[in-house]
Symmetry: C2
Subunit: 343 residues, 2 copies
DNA sequence: ACAATATTATGAAACGTTACATGAAACTAA
DNA sequence: TTAGTTTCATGTAACGTTTCATAATATTGT
């Protein structure tokens, strides 16, 4: 007598259908099988409500259909939207995700990589900060936003072009004196590219610009002071500000409100990332949008690509500009440029 | 000769150490084994860099050490912080998470539950909206924020008390005329409890209040109109607003800025959820905080609890109030109450 | 109608574990 | 010294798949 509790196996289906085990396997995997057999097996599968055990499959194939994703956390909207799109992309291809949040802790990053390898994952996608991470040769790895050497492909958006685009937009919207704001030390090189692109753009467009890099400790206080110092007679001396992330831009926006500066009338503001933290109801900001869905797809694509030779060391995806209320609109822009021409 | 590429197995360790397979298994699982054997096995494990295959373990034990988590998405900060804490809690207990994002799609919710069962998960935690979800009897299930019948435990924060707390705070901070704002149809019952608690609080404290429930379609426009209608001679007729979520509160805050109302001087604002979307740099709002880490721990705890009898149908966790800049501070409050006494 | 060939179902072996029945060795007691 | 007992390593079976060599059947040509 068969246990009532445990789920039916291929053996049960084979017995029910009166066929051999291998035949059931073929039907399940869509391999060619005689029509009468196929029908009998399919009926039996329905009758028993049979479901394949993907872990047994994995054991046989020496694959786990699991990839590990390392991100600092899933709370920052940029990371959590990456998680969202990568997960969807993986599920599409019948892969599972082992989510590891590292809290920017280099040691934890290394530990999770070892843990993932213990779990026999088929690959790892990592948005990591540890400069000397070691990962097993035979475990495919794709890095996000940070180059980890020629053997490990890296997926990033075109940060330099993004900075340049921000400068171009501000210039086109009539700005003359702009500022670049950024937090934190220079450990991570991608934000530096944003700065470089912005500076490059400002130079070639003849914008005067100022760069302010805030300390990690209490940037909140620090940039409020910075902005206050640039306000004379209630009027801010910048007409455009580019923030290295949306997160920073939202904070600057709030501070500008406090300091009674109107956005975008007195000063225009552009962020970077393009994350709609709250969906359609987002507290919005004009921004340079990272193509997160495309980046996610590219990561998974590269990771699961069979041919090791076909893995470029860097894939750089294009950014776009999105209006979000903190810059002057297109219609305004035309008026503005007219006004400028007249003056 | 052994293949170079594939990972070492217990068999390899046994051969290397010159012991039987079962002995290796015992050492790996910490079962008692003679000291000399233990040393030899441990040396061999180190030498070969052996790692157990947890999928083979799972196949044998008929467990997958995987639980599925169903949430609408991982972008909304409330969901993504739930994901964060639940994931950490699961990893602590050596479980993996199968993350399923449903986009509020009832059909997709059902599909993912079936998919999870296909994947032989050991349990499911679901924050779902489908009113008639069917889940296999023998798959443990824990619901978040929604009761799904007596057999399925539900974890939620004390929404009623939260509404009440908001009313008490506003009253203590000197408010007399308050408003409740909420989006969407009444399908989900937890927000209704927030409203009920708030109303209850207002009644017992003698606050006059108004409730506004906005349509799902274009709430953005709708509440801007609602707020405008309550502004006479540049002054808003409410001195306190309670929003059903922080997401809504941030939007209201933005709108109030546009309408030239000062927060918290003209009108105080309290949200619900307590999510720090951007970490320490958060664009902040005073709020009723859901105990997300505790809720996460409780979900995992209930799910993995062996004794089926020990699963209460509802676990209601306490909320707290957190100051976030959109209400008058404690020091201000004293001044305010003095002012009120004097007038 | 029969042999030769093409087609297709069969079932055992293997994937890496764990559990359990078996048997060998070491110890105790007379 | 020997029988009885305890201790503990051993090795096989089983978990649910897939694969492949084998066997059974159907097809073709003469």
């Amino acid at each position: 007598m068969k246990k009532e509790t445990s789920a039916p196996t291929m053996k049960d289906v084979a017995r029910e259908a009166g066929v051999a085990l291998g035949t059931v396997s073929k039907v399940v995997n869509g391999l060619p099988v005689g029509d009468s057999y196929k029908v009998r097996v399919e009926d039996a599968i329905r009758k028993l409500n049979y479901q394949v055990n993907s872990y047994a499959q994995g054991l046989k194939a020496n694959k786990t259909y699991t990839i590990a994703l390392l991100v600092p956390n899933t709370i920052d909207p940029f990371y959590s939207s990456l998680v969202y799109y990568i997960n969807i992309e993986l599920l599409k291809r019948r892969y599972r995700m082992l989510l590891c949040t590292t809290d920017y802790n280099p040691q934890l990053e290394q530990e999770y990589i070892m843990m993932a390898q213990n779990n026999k994952v088929d690959g790892i996608i990592g948005l990591t900060y540890n400069p000397d991470l070691t990962v097993e040769e035979n475990t495919p790895f794709v890095a996000i936003d940070r180059s980890m050497g020629p053997k490990i492909p890296c997926v990033a958006c075109d940060n330099f072009a993004g900075g340049q685009l921000a400068a171009e937009k501000l210039a086109a919207l009539g700005c003359k004196n702009v500022a670049f704001l950024r937090i934190g030390s220079a450990l991570v090189n991608e934000p530096n590219k944003r700065k470089a692109g912005f500076e490059n753009g400002c130079l070639s467009l003849g914008l005067s610009y100022e760069c302010k890099i805030l300390s990690d400790d209490d940037p909140y206080e620090e940039f409020e002071r910075f902005l206050s110092e640039h306000i004379h007679n209630g009027k801010i001396s910048f007409d455009g500000i580019f923030c290295v992330t949306d997160r920073l831009a939202y904070q600057v926006l709030n501070t500008l409100h406090k300091l009674h500066q109107r956005v975008p009338e007195d000063v225009q503001l552009i962020g970077f990332d393009g994350i709609r933290a709250f969906g359609s109801l987002d507290y919005r900001c004009s921004t340079i949008v990272q193509p997160v869905p495309e980046m996610a797809e590219m990561c998974v694509d590269l990771l699961l690509r069979e041919n090791m030779m076909m893995k470029p060391p860097l894939v750089c995806l294009p950014v776009t500009y999105a209006y979000g209320g903190t810059t002057l609109e297109a219609t305004y822009r035309t008026e503005e440029s007219h006004a400028h021409r007249q003056s």
